[in-house]
Amino acid sequence: MQISPEILPRIIQAIAEAIEKNAEAVTQLDQAIGDGDHVVNLQRGIHALQAQSAEIGQLDWAVVMQKIGMTLMSTVGGASGSLYGTLFVTIGKALRDKTADLPAFAAAFAQGVESVKLRGKADAGEKTMLDVLIPAAQSLQNSADASISLQELLADVTHAAETGVEATRKMLATKGRASFLGERSLGHIDAGAKTAQLMIAAIAAVIASSGAPT
C-alpha cells in the first residue's frame, strides 16, 4: 500500500484543528511545568506549513519530509522546533531513493525518533514528547511487520500514543524545562507529549478516512 503526499494538506489541516481545539488545555499544561509557549510555537509552524500546503502535496515523500523539517526548524523555535525539525529532516533522508511503502515509512519514522533522542539527549521515561514518539514508532514497526489491516495499524499507533501521554503524568521530568522544577513536575502531563499524541491521532484519523486500502 502507498499513500500519496497529496494527502498532506488534509493532514496539516486536521493537525491545525486538533491543536487549536486543545490549545487552552495544552497551554495550561505547559504553564504548570513549562513556560507556556508550546502551543503558540507549534501553531507558528503549522501556519507556515499551511501556507506551503498546496505545493507540498506535489513533491515526493523524501523531499516533502525534508521540507517540512526545514520549515518547522525555522519557524517553531524552542525545544520542540529543533526536535520536530530534526525528526522530519531525518525521516526525509531515510526515505531518499526508497519506495515509500509502509515498511519504509515505519523504518524512517523509527530513525526519525532515534534522531530526536540524539538531539534531545533524551530517552523514554524523561517526561517529554519522546514518551509518545517512542511507543508510536514501536507500534508502527510492530504492525508493519505483522500482517494486520491499515485500520488496525492506525488504531494501534493511536492507542500507543495515548498510553504514552498518560504515562508522563507519573514521571519525574529529567529533560526540558520541567526538569528545573524537580518533584514539582510530578502529577502533570507533559505538554510536548500531549501535542505529539494529538498530532498522531489527527494523522491516523485522516488516513483512516482517506479510503486507503484497509
Partner: protein, 329 residues
Amino acid sequence: MKKFINTIDSLLEDSLKGFAKAHADIVELNQEPHFIKRAKLGSPGKVVLISGGGSGHEPLHSGFVGLGMLDAACPGQIFTSPTPDQMLAAAEAVDQGGGVLFIVKNYAGDVMNFEIAAEMLEIPNATVLVNDDVSLPKTHSIGRRGVAGTLIVEKMVGAAAEAGADLAACKALGDRINQSTASIGVALTSCTVPALGKPTFDLGDQEMEMGVGIHGEHGRETLPLANASEIVEHLARAIDEELKPQPGQSVLLHVNGFGATPLIELHLIYHLAAQYWEQRGVVIARSLVGNFTTSLDMAGASLTLTLLDEEMIRLWDAPVNTAALRWGA
C-alpha cells in the same frame, strides 16, 4: 493583560525595528531571518561573538551588541529560542575570518537550536554554554540554567575578542568566566506573556518563588515572603557555598532586576549583598546594578557573583559601546 501592544504577532517585529532605529549608531536589524548586528563590524580576523535566545529578556542580548561585546544577537519569539537559520545568517553577516563563538544559555531549546546551527555552519566555530544558576544542583539532569551571568561572559569575552584573542582563547576564557560565576534569583510575581494574556503563575500576597529562571516559570520552591535582609542572605549564601570566595578575593557583584522591580529596591539589595561579602573579607572590586536580564514585567531580582582575577578586571573595564552597557567609548 495590560500592555502597550497592537497585535501579538507584530509586537516583536515592531519592537526590534524601534530598537534598531533608536540605536542606529550602534546596531542594524536584519529581517528574515531576524538578527541584530553591529552597525560597524570589527576588524578583519576578529573572532565574532554571537548570542541569542528568546525575547522578553531585554536588554539581553540585543542591547549588548556593539564594540567590545557581541557582534550579533538572534532574538527568538518571546521566551522561545531562536531558530538555526537566524544563527547561520548572523554568522555569515558578521564573520571576519577569525571564527564564530556562540554564547548560549543552557536551556534545551537554545542548546539544540544553536547546536544545529553550529553543525551546519561552514565557518570554524565554538560554543560557550553558560550555566550559572546555582538554584539547581550541579548534578542536575540537564545541567544548570544560564541566567544573568551571561552578560558578564559576553562583556569579558567581547573585550578579549576585540583585543585580538583567537577562537580557542575566547572559548577557554568564556568557560573560565562561566565557571567563576554564580547566580540565583527570586520572584515576587510571575510575568504575563503577551500571547497568553495572563500571568504564568499566581503567587499569594505573602509568598515568593525562590530559585526562579528568567521565563516567568515557577521556581524551585515557594517560600513565605521575607524581608530584604533575609532574602539577600538566602541568595548570597547559595552563591557563597558554590563559589567559596576567600577573604581578599576580588569579585564582581551584579544585582539584576527582572523588569518590574524599582531601582530603589535593587540598590537596597546591592547594599545588603555587598555587606554580606564585605563582612567575609571579600573585595567587591566591580559592580553592576539594574534591569539587564529581565522576564518581561516580572517583579523580582537575582544576585550574580563572579570571582575576578587581574585579566578579568581588565576585560571588564575595557571600552564597551552597546545600547545597554557603555563605558570608556
